[in-house]
């Protein structure tokens, strides 16, 4: 049985100047911009068409929990730097440090979801489901999709710190590239939240 070898996983492709995996993740992130962009565009469209936002009166900052969302922003920003440190540890050949920082990134991602869980359950207790009105429909859709991306990040990062680490022994550069690509995705998740937080909670 012949083994298929994917070229340019470590060495830069002669046309793009970067490894294929990195180019692939950037193209994926471009498609993600369009996914969130379509929802954000819908949000602006619906909001500008409403006489009052939120429809029931008051301000978004009074209806939603700003302190918890601020805490979540800090949690996600912190997870971004731990992700960078995980990648930097790989670059410097320090696997135990990589495990530590990647573990911290995963832990912070879980903390984000736990805080989001408290926010969601409080809304549900008040009877504010996505079907309540346009405001909650948009709030749950955008934060829900973002939350799914956080879960996706947890899965990929857990693989890298778990069974995926085996590659370190055979091909450390390829493994480091994988960590870099996972990092690019994770920073994008942080970047989306940077826009969602003021748009949904503060304005």
């Amino acid at each position: 049985m012949s083994e298929t070898v994917i070229p340019y996983v470590v060495k830069p492709h002669p046309v793009t100047g970067i490894p294929n995996g990195k180019f692939g993740i950037w193209l994926f992130l471009a498609s993600e911009v369009m996914l969130f962009g379509a929802l954000f565009s819908s949000y602006v469209l619906i909001r500008t068409g409403m006489p009052h936002w939120p429809p029931e009166g008051g301000l978004a900052s009074e209806v939603l929990n700003v302190p918890l969302a601020t805490l979540n922003t800090a949690v996600l920003i912190t997870s971004s730097i731990t992700m960078v440190l995980a990648w930097a540890s790989c670059k410097m050949g320090k696997l135990p440090r990589f495990r530590l920082w990647m573990g911290a990134t995963i832990g912070l991602a879980f903390a984000f979801l736990v805080i989001k869980y408290f926010e969601y359950t409080h809304k549900f207790e008040l009877g504010h489901f996505p079907s309540h009105d346009n405001f909650y429909a948009i709030y749950f859709t955008l934060t829900g999709l973002h939350g799914l991306h956080v879960i996706g990040g947890i899965i990929v990062n857990s693989y890298l710190v778990g069974p995926g680490t085996k590659m370190w022994a055979t091909d450390p550069e390829h493994f480091t590239n994988r960590v870099e690509n996972a990092g690019l995705y994770w920073h994008f998740v942080d970047l989306v939240w940077i826009f969602l937080f003021p748009s949904l909670y503060l304005l």
Binding site: V15, T16, G17, I18, F23, W26, L27, A30, V33, M34, G37, A38, F40, S41, S42, V44, L45, T48, G49, S61, V66, T70, T73, A74, I77, T78, S80, I81, M83, V84, L85, A88, K91, M92, G93, P172, E173, T176, G183, L184, H187, F188, D190, L191, I194, F195, F197, P198, S199, L202, L203
Partner: protein, 104 residues
């Protein structure tokens, strides 16, 4: 990993921490400004301007966009163009509707 690469990464560590602290400070500023109850257009401008600065720092430093290959810039410029069209198209249709232009 060779020693040169080790040193190269080490050189950037300070920058990562500076951006981290700046991001936290800008988050505090965004929340602080929201309590000033500015007029809506001003509040939107300030909040989105701060968000753009934060996003720029994450992209430039954490995602290493500041020293990236041309092909990535090309992909991102194309993405930005499509993103602008995506934002503008549906909202331009309602603009016509609100202004009472014919054919709406």
């Amino acid at each position: 990993m060779d020693a040169a690469q080790h040193e190269d990464v080490n050189k950037h560590m300070g920058k990562y921490y500076v951006v981290f602290v700046a991001l936290l400070c800008l988050t505090a500023i965004t929340v602080g400004v929201s309590y000033l109850h500015l007029t809506r257009p001003l509040a939107i401008t300030v909040a989105l301007a701060i968000a753009c600065i934060k996003a720029g720092m994450v992209a430039a430093v954490f995602m290493h966009l500041i020293s990236e290959r041309k092909v990535i810039y090309a992909v991102l410029i194309l993405t930005a163009l499509f993103f602008i069209v995506l934002l503008a198209l549906p909202n331009l249709t309602t603009f016509e509707h609100h202004s009472g232009m014919p054919g709406t």
